[in-house]
């Protein structure tokens, strides 16, 4: 599964994109985040305030409870600021 990070989430995590194999007990976006936070200080810093974390599962806006089974791509980013 591909994980993507954008804007300051990317900067704090210290990675733009990575291929990972999630632990078998990860069911939703929330589970992905909990797992990521065990992987190092960068991820912990990136995901320390979940009120400013948004996500997309297979390029569709999702929520923390969006299931991730079968997903090819999950992205994490701050609230969007285009336009």
């Amino acid at each position: 599964m591909k994980l993507l990070y954008f804007a300051w989430v990317r900067q704090k995590a210290g990675v733009a994109e990575e291929d990972v194999t999630l632990p078998g007990d990860v069911r939703d976006v929330s589970g992905v985040i909990s797992w990521l936070r065990t992987r190092g200080e960068g991820y912990e810093a990136a995901f320390c305030d979940l009120s400013v974390i948004r996500c997309a599962v297979d390029q569709e806006h999702g929520g923390f409870d969006t299931p991730v089974a079968g997903a090819a791509e999950i992205a994490f980013f701050p609230p969007v600021t285009g336009g």
């Binding site: 954008f6 804007a7 390029q59 992205a75 980013f77 701050p78 600021t81 285009g82 336009g83």
Partner: protein, 148 residues
Amino acid sequence: MIRVQTEDFDIGAEVAALTAGRTDIGAIVTFSGLVRDANGGSVASMELEHYPGMTEKELARIEREANERWPLQASLVIHRVGKLLPGDNIVLVVAASAHRQAAFEAASFLMDYLKTRAPFWKREDTGGETRWVDARESDGVAAAKWKV
């Protein structure tokens, strides 16, 4: 039509291309957003990051939604990415319809949704230090009024 590009755009040329040879369009509303240096000299440049793939999907969805809600003869969304300077164009939205109210509402809707749904992020370079622009609560309020 949607485009994500590093190049600048020309409003007149884009509108002319949309309306060429047509006589059924009565009203065209364009919105263009520019890099603003609110405090004069505090923003040296801006970097626009986006999520390639998802950006195009979201813009296409937003445009489709506008065309379902209003009788539009033509619509266009262009968003620039990369490094931009104060005064540079960032975004262009065009809505063309037979009557002006549909064109005004559709252009406003396109912008409100683009602001809250399209995966773009702005980073300001104030000369030495960079700062990710915070999302504005008012943008969420503006989008919510359309009740998608």
